[in-house]
């Protein structure tokens, strides 16, 4: 497991090694960006009119899933998985939509803060249950996905509520150049503001440590239980933001969970995060989300039957994981 110890090694290694190891550890991300460029070129080829409007739509439609993928990535890095992300998004978005309906603009700020706090709380519940009961993450979060979806239905029976105007304006349109969608800026700012400090903190190191080798992390003095709960809390915060971006883009709250749990897992794996934990980052999954979204757009351009698009999603999910596990198998043999 030398690769997973990279954050520590990289600091002490010689410059040449640093460059080499940087390229090696980011090989997946570099490859992904190349693939993304190819896909964009291909999209332009099959749909010459694809341009500013396409990029705008892409950024807005990718935003909720991108935030959900960041949330999932954090938990997966810590060695867990959260199957309740879709339900938590539904719950946070309906709570926000119900609270915002008919309220003045300024009140929306209070709602946004409250919903993010709610997300942190939901995450803390998931994390505490996983740590205290010692039941596998999959079982606890699968069960909690029922609970949160049920709560969402209690809050709002059918799609309704409303989103504050400034929240919608925050992600609609562009900033400066028409090629820079606001949604993308919002995403980058949020992730940079939260993830980079976390990544460089003691907590960030603990996060990778417990995902990589839990007993070793414990013996090195990492408080495993606390770190896991914090990872789930951070996940809850990002999931709440994903829920907020959902009502910002659609304007209403929907109590039925979307396909976000599954897609977030797909994006995380596509983004180079190992499901075994301890390896990867959050920027890879974001690129993964954009790739998944473009593939979907391309299939519409190519007039592919939307049902076959569902098939393609499943095949991509399986294919990506298959390639990922083959790479891992070869690595462990080498």
């Amino acid at each position: 497991m030398t690769a997973s110890a990279a954050p520590v090694d990289a600091v002490r290694a010689r410059p040449v090694d640093v460059l080499g190891s940087w390229a090696r550890h980011n090989a997946w991300a570099i490859g992904l960006l190349g693939f993304l460029a190819l896909l964009l070129a291909y999209t332009k080829l099959i749909q010459p009119s694809y341009g500013v409007a396409g990029v705008q739509g892409l950024a807005i439609s990718a935003l909720p899933l991108a935030l959900a993928a960041v949330a999932q990535a954090i938990v997966v890095i810590s060695g867990g998985i959260d199957l309740s992300i879709g339900s938590m998004m539904a719950l946070t978005s309906v709570v926000a939509a119900v609270l915002m309906k008919g309220q003045p603009e300024e009140f929306g700020v209070v709602v946004v803060v409250a919903v993010v706090l709610l997300g942190l709380f939901l995450g803390a519940v998931n994390g505490s249950l996983v740590v205290l009961t010692r039941v596998p993450d999959i079982v606890v979060t699968l069960a909690m996905s029922f609970v949160w979806a049920g709560c969402a239905l209690l809050v709002l029976q059918s799609p309704g509520g409303a989103a504050t105007k400034w929240l919608k304006d925050l992600i609609l349109g562009s900033l400066g150049s028409a090629w820079v969608p606001k949604a993308a800026v919002v995403l980058i700012v949020i992730v940079a503001l939260v993830w980079i400090p976390v990544r460089r903190s003691r907590f960030g190191l603990s996060l990778y440590a417990i995902g990589s080798n839990r007993p070793a992390a414990f013996r090195s003095g990492v408080s495993v239980g606390r770190t896991r709960i914090l990872a789930y809390m951070l996940m809850g915060g990002f999931t709440a933001l994903a829920g907020l971006s959902l009502i910002a883009s659609t304007g209403i709250g929907t109590p039925v969970p979307g396909p976000y749990t599954l897609m977030s897992v797909a994006a995380v794996v596509l983004g180079g995060v190992s499901l075994a934990g301890g390896r990867g980052g959050v920027f890879g999954p974001i690129v993964g989300v954009v790739i998944l979204q473009i593939i979907r757009t391309d299939m519409t351009f190519l007039n592919v039957d939307p049902n076959m698009a569902v098939v393609a999603q499943g095949v991509i999910l399986i294919g990506v994981v298959m390639v990922g596990s083959l790479v891992q198998l070869r690595r462990s043999r080498a």
């Binding site: 009961t133 069960a143 209690l154 049902n307 569902v310 393609a312 499943g314």
Partner: protein
């Protein structure tokens, strides 16, 4: 643990926590059956006169598809896996059967095609998990999407032909013998016997436990785990297909999302029945009782007039609580 401070012999063994733990750990059927009886009594209290032979028949009829699907989860969970494609596979099997009824060959061909398609999905699951080492959760979730997508395509292809639920399947899925015993027991009892005997008495059943308990040890002992896994997921998909046919008969509706709502309860039934998702521990007997418990609970909740949301919340809470209880009693032995 405070019990260990005092000598065990000075205390009544029936009053120590350790003794209860022992019962819970070694004979999980006893507390499970007690819980089932408790729920039945609660139903009778909530609505006096509710519990009757007819009611029992309806409960058993509703439990059978759930118990079969929970069998898929039990078998796969024994090896440390899970099969989340059962909802899509069961729905697809039911839907394909309903669309092919009026086609050439009639009902037998329709059922054969449906079960072959199920087996194919299971084969792909098994190859992905056994050979390519894809995480079972991901593989089966992805396969669920693939099956759902193809079922939707098939739906568009067959809009003109229409659907029909064969009389025999409707009879098997929904009729009660003498108003008490559901005819679906004719399918379920042999299946359940096969699974129970298969797990207890055959080498294949032992292999499932061995692989789930310690895959490396199983491999070193000569088990070809990839073959075991492929067969396992084919069996699981076939069971799901059969459950889909029964659900088709029970609901009398052909839909590509027919069995979606069964997926999470099927996992819940297996977990409640004492099968560990980490593999190597559990059995089908507990799962059957787990399916009955969930069905009685559902009927109790609707008798109380709670909304669907409350049922979901309660189900989730029960899964966490029961799984936590099992983890506690089995890990501190």
């Amino acid at each position: 643990m405070s019990e260990t401070v005092q000598p065990e012999s000075t205390r009544n063994p029936w009053l120590t926590l350790a003794a209860w733990r022992g019962i819970f750990r070694d004979r999980p059927m006893i507390p499970l059956l007690a819980l089932l009886v408790l729920l039945v009594l609660a139903s009778q209290l909530v609505r006096p006169g509710m519990v009757s032979p007819g009611w029992a028949g309806v409960i058993i009829r509703a439990s059978i598809p759930l118990a079969i699907l929970a069998g898929c989860q039990t078998l796969t969970m024994l090896t440390g896996g899970i099969d989340l494609s059962v909802g899509a596979v069961a729905s697809m099997a039911g839907f394909v059967t309903a669309t092919l009824v009026h086609g050439p060959g009639g009902v037998p061909v329709a059922i054969a095609v449906a079960l072959s398609a199920s087996a194919l999905a299971g084969l792909l699951n098994g190859i992905g998990i056994g050979v390519f080492r894809v995480h079972p959760l991901i593989m089966t979730l992805g396969m669920g999407l693939v099956v759902l997508g193809f079922a939707n395509v098939w739906q568009l292809q067959t809009v003109q032909t229409g659907t029909g639920v064969p009389e025999g399947i409707r009879w098997l899925g929904s009729q009660l013998f003498a108003g008490v015993l559901p005819f679906s027991l004719l399918v379920f009892v042999p299946l359940a016997a096969l699974i129970l005997v298969g797990l207890w008495r055959t080498g294949y059943g032992r292999l499932l436990y061995a692989i789930g308990d310690n895959p490396i040890a199983a491999r070193l002992s000569g088990a070809r785990s990839w073959q075991v896994i492929i067969v396992l997921y084919v069996v699981s998909a076939l069971l799901a297909g059969i459950a889909g046919l029964l659900i088709l008969g029970l609901t009398n509706i052909a839909s590509v999302r027919l069995a979606d709502s069964y997926v999470l309860p099927s996992v819940a039934a297996a977990v409640i029945g004492g099968t560990s998702i980490m593999g190597g521990r559990g059995g089908y007997g507990g799962t059957i009782v787990g399916a009955l418990i969930l069905t009685v609970l559902t009927s109790l909740i609707s008798a109380l007039g709670f909304p669907e949301a409350a049922r979901q919340i309660l189900f989730g809470a029960i899964i966490v609580a029961v799984a936590a209880a099992y983890t506690r009693v089995t890990s501190e032995s």
